[in-house]
Amino acid sequence: MPAQIRDVMPAFELFQPASVADTLGLLDRHGADAWVMAGGMDTFDWLKDRIRKPKVVIDLSGVAELRGIKEANGGLEIGAMTTLTDVSRNALVKERYGLLAEAAGLVASPQIRNQGTMGGNVAQDARCWYYRAGWPCYRASGNICYADTPTSVNREHAIFEADRCVAVNPSDTAPALIALDAQMVVRRSGAELVVRAQDFFVGPGVDITNLTMLQPGDLLTAIRIPGTWAGKQFYFEKVRDRQVWDFALVNIASAINASGSTIGEARMVVNGVAARPYRLEAVEAFLSGKPRNEQTADAAAELAVQGAVPLRHNAYKVPLMKALVKRAIRGAAEWSS
């Protein structure tokens, strides 16, 4: 094969709108030809590898109204272009939603967090290297999954909900947002859609070429976090190969509303195990009313991995996930009994 040209982006028309209205106008005009760029952390990989060659790039960095964190309806509203550093350091986020602050603070490296945005982190594409290399897999509108063959290198891939494609969602903030019952605010065709974070992410069965419900022409403008889970007991842990800078092999976000040592309501979401953040609803239901002890955690961990189908090289994710579920139930403390 001829050597691939790297680090030289294909030519495209660049737009740098200054308002949401201008952005929507551009999206309306260019439709599927337009590529929306937030912080550029995902975009530049695609462009410099010349895998994606959009005719138009819409750079959102100049849209001030998409930045910032403000109080709204008893919770918070985070602009889609707010950087991950700002989210992880914001006093309100840290005070009320420490889960999200921690998740945002563990994304990649400080430099990437300074440039990467909340919107970009939740809307980023899969990191499956077969897909990122431009191979014609299902996710790239082809008819095969190169990661799910007897000889594939699939250590990082899915153990749940594989439907032809076995790529996983790489976001760290996504599971935290689902655990906090967040809502995504999307502008589509002049209307505003408010979508539950859980429904914002889609699996390959529903849409094999997208990790989210965003379609060409859509713009994610903000993320709203209700007050429901403010100040509750949170746990976030990210397991990765390189502690300094890496995507999660598996991460977990949990929110628990406990009364003494009894668990009331719980939210538990794992990412890196499926093409969308994998909410452990069976575990959540099981935990309700249970004592927060090791026996409960053991049973919950077993429940969490029911239905897992490991690939050739990622069976380690099953015990890893069990361990994370146990640790999320235990929280920061030692077992009380």
């Binding site: 094969m1 509108s141 063959t149 069965g205």
Partner: protein, 272 residues
């Protein structure tokens, strides 16, 4: 408009991937245009069926004919509706996502495919051993009937043969469905080797890229073909002058007069 999608394999080869969804729209629009054109034509068609006087004479000449004549047995009707359910499920699960209605369709699609395959296998056995196997086939022997039917379409009382059990259009449609159906089933079964099912062990390397590409194209072509075929079938089933056939697929029988008006009693001898 594109007909097929190509991709560059990891080995730098151009490989077929699937048909372009433009063909789905072409089939959909083609089916609707046919429907409009045929509907318009039928407003002015002088289509000629057997005259009432002649039917009266035939009724008198054949007093043993029962009032209700069985056209489709209970088993044949069950097969037809099971196949119709499977076919519609296959088309809807395949093409609703194409028009933007997203849902987890693959599971329902292959399940419907298995149902269709099972029903077709049953039909082949049933038609071979328990039905008049040759009554549905079309061949050179049907040219006189085709000529006569065409003349009747233009209002001329042609002397040629009347249809046997199945009108010529019926037989041609069956042939088209047979070709498209076997193509869709064969290619679909091969495609299942790339999907996780409890039926087959997944083996994405069962064939090479080129063979898989061709398989996907065949499946796509037969699939979009069915869009047009199904539109045509439902349209004819609902047309007033054909509705007696549709009713017979529900209730099993036609009246003695319908039998004599539309069929040649010598080519389709009523069993009761």
């Amino acid at each position: 408009m594109e007909f097929v999608n190509w991709a560059l394999s990891p080995w730098g080869e151009n490989i077929l991937v699937r048909i372009s969804w433009d063909l789905f729209w072409a089939s959909l629009v083609g089916g609707v245009l046919f429907l409009v054109a045929h509907g318009g034509y039928m407003l002015f068609s002088p289509h000629h069926k057997r005259e009432s006087d002649e039917v009266d004479r035939m009724e008198q000449a054949m007093p043993a004919l029962p009032a209700a004549i069985t056209r489709h047995s209970f088993v044949a009707r069950i097969f037809h509706w099971v196949m119709a359910f499977a076919m519609l499920s296959l088309v809807f699960t395949a093409f609703l996502p194409v028009i933007g209605i997203k849902f987890a369709w693959v599971y329902w699609h292959w399940m419907a495919g298995i149902l269709l395959t099972g029903s077709i296998i049953f039909h082949i056995i049933h038609a071979t051993f328990f039905m008049d196997f040759w009554s549905i086939w079309v061949g050179p022997k049907d040219i006189p009937e085709a000529k006569a039917e065409m003349m009747r379409e233009f209002g001329i009382d042609a002397p040629g043969p009347k249809p046997g059990k199945y009108p010529l259009g019926n037989r041609l449609y069956h042939l088209a469905v047979l070709v498209a159906g076997l193509g869709a089933i064969g290619s679909g079964l091969l495609m299942m080797s790339r999907v996780r099912t409890p039926i087959f062990e997944r083996n994405p390397y069962l064939m090479g890229d080129a063979a898989y590409g061709l398989t996907y194209v065949i499946h796509g072509l037969t699939g979009v073909g069915f869009v047009g075929l199904i539109i045509a079938h439902i349209y004819f089933a609902l047309r007033p002058e054909k509705f007696w056939i549709t009713k017979s697929m529900i209730f099993g029988t036609i009246t003695r007069r319908q039998y004599l008006e539309h069929h040649d009693p010598e080519r389709w001898v009523s069993s009761k």
